[in-house]
């Protein structure tokens, strides 16, 4: 089965929450130096929950679709709940099977989110 399923392609072509937040509470940038992927993610937190979250991605279809799906999921969720997200969650969210090399692309947005919500935020 190709990993370019309709859901992935939809989020790749029309990423949700794409762009930056001007007055973000926190900003994170993450890289995958192997392929040059880069994701910038901004967040606004209110009462322990995600009020607003946006990202900009330069990279492959998988990292962009993953960032789109993840930010869509994270919006209005409680921070404590988001802290528990892991690799299995992302695989389930994307609904595709990725090999050991491509899984890194899919996990890059989660790395950005973790940077935003861990360390007392």
């Amino acid at each position: 089965m190709s990993i370019y399923q309709d859901k992935i392609l939809d989020h790749y072509r029309n990423p949700r929450n794409f762009g930056r937040i001007k007055n973000a509470d926190k900003t994170a940038e993450v890289f995958n130096h192997v392929c040059g992927d880069r994701i910038d993610m901004d967040i606004v937190i209110k009462e322990g929950g995600v009020e607003e979250i946006r990202f900009e991605a330069k990279g492959c279809a998988i990292s962009r679709a993953s960032a789109s799906l993840l930010t869509e999921y994270a919006k209005h969720k409680k921070i404590d709940e988001l802290k528990k997200l892991d690799k299995a969650f992302i695989i389930n969210l994307l609904e595709i099977d990725l090999g050991p090399n491509r899984i890194k692309c899919a996990l890059l947005p989660l790395e950005a989110l973790k940077k935003l919500i861990i360390n007392g935020q």
Partner: protein
């Protein structure tokens, strides 16, 4: 053109995967049956250690092992088999040089010169060596057409100086596919500084062109068995004997000593001084089969075949996809069977993934050559590379896959 149908029948992987389109021989080549059988022969018939046993099968293993050393020496036209050292790979050969030679001769304010188009294995060891010893690390740039910028009239003037103790460079870039004029470069460098040591990373050259170390006039070359139809885990370092003699050992241990006493150790002469521990015996023994295989095909035929495929691919890509595909490196004719390209706005990983869905293997990323990608202003690229088992239908399939990328992601 080579008879690809016949050649493919010599490679068991094509019986297992008849639809495989393998366009990543720059990373590693496929292996013919004769090489696999030779590995088996050692393990099944005389799998003893070399040099130590005073018994039949150890003597047989030693004979086979040393026979390969002679065959490698003849293959690259070395003066003597004693100049041929077996290592793990090109990377280890180059690290051996940086340590055993570099640490000994490089002092503060000396210069170590390399190029922007090196594989990390011929870049990082020298960068680190220079930093540790307070030496100057100089990098030869490329011109806009993707060849090395060797200064006025390719004279190396202002690049190599009397202070340059080591010049190390690749014969064929694993990204740009350009062949560097090693013979001319070595001659010019030695004109400026007769004592300079010229090192050549020949990992992409030895599998594809006839390499004659005496004719090149360099001091060392490094290459890997696995890129030339041979086993993985085996590399070669060739060096001028007088230099090898003057160098420090790389690893200490078994096989490389003459005698050991409580307070001192005497080392063997090269090449054994540099082959501590039990080597990749099976690999060395099997390497001679890959050399025989290549020599039987004939260098002229191999080169003509790859040239025809490369030109066909460059022509066809330009015709079918126009300017959307940008090929890195020089245009015809100085382009060996390595074509790195970008296909904006698609990411190399996505392109390689869609190729994989069509059973086509290409490389995506920076191909262990970040400096040249940075120099060209691209994060990553795709790369297809050709060898003796590829034909034009492989390229046609690759072009269809590029169109498929547009269809899926466009």
């Amino acid at each position: 053109m080579l008879n690809v149908t016949h050649i493919r029948s010599d490679f068991p992987i094509f019986s297992d995967k008849p639809n495989l389109v393998y366009l990543d021989s720059t990373a590693t080549s496929l292996k013919p049956r004769v090489v696999i059988e030779k590995l088996r022969e050692y393990y099944e018939k005389y799998s003893a250690n070399v040099f130590r046993g005073i018994y039949g099968i150890s003597e047989k293993a030693t004979e086979e092992y040393e026979e390969t050393r002679q065959i490698v020496a003849d293959f690259i036209n070395a003066k003597s088999p004693d100049e041929v050292i077996f290592t793990r790979n090109t990377t280890e050969s180059l690290n051996l040089l940086a340590y055993s030679l570099g640490q000994q001769i490089i002092e503060k304010n000396d210069e170590v010169v390399t190029t922007i188009e090196e594989h990390h294995s011929n870049f990082v060891p020298w960068q680190q060596l220079a930093a540790e010893n307070g030496a100057v690390f100089k990098i030869i740039d490329i011109t806009t057409d993707g060849n090395l910028n060797l200064g006025k009239n390719s004279s190396l003037e202002g690049i190599v100086t009397k202070k340059t103790k080591i010049l190390t460079l690749t014969y064929i870039s694993n990204v740009l596919g350009n062949i560097n004029p090693i013979k001319e470069i070595a001659r010019q460098a030695k004109k400026i500084n007769p004592k300079i040591v010229v090192i050549v990373d020949a990992a992409q050259a030895v599998p594809h062109i006839k390499v004659d170390v005496q004719d090149l006039g360099c001091d060392f070359i490094a290459f890997s068995a696995h890129k030339m139809l041979g086993p993985t885990g085996l590399g070669v370092l060739w060096g001028r004997y007088d230099l090898l003699e003057s160098m420090l050992p790389f690893n200490f241990g078994g096989e490389m000593i003459e005698s050991v006493e409580a307070d001192k150790t005497l080392f063997k002469s090269p090449p054994y001084k540099f082959e501590a521990g039990t080597p990749h015996i099976a690999g060395v023994i099997a390497l001679k089969e890959s050399i025989h295989y290549l020599e039987k095909l004939g260098w002229e035929n191999v080169e003509a075949h790859e040239k025809e495929l490369t030109n066909y691919a460059l022509r066809k890509m330009a015709y079918e996809l126009g300017k959307k595909v940008k090929v890195l490196g020089p245009s015809y004719p100085n382009h060996k069977g390595i074509i790195a390209f970008t296909f904006e706005p698609y990411h190399p990983h996505d392109i390689a993934q869609i190729f994989s869905d069509e059973n086509i293997c290409i490389r995506a990323g920076h191909h262990c050559a970040m400096p040249v990608h940075t120099r060209l202003g691209v994060n990553a690229s795709c790369r297809m590379s050709f060898y003796i088992y590829n034909d034009k239908t492989d390229i046609d399939k690759a072009i269809l896959a590029l169109k498929q990328v547009e269809k899926v992601l466009g």
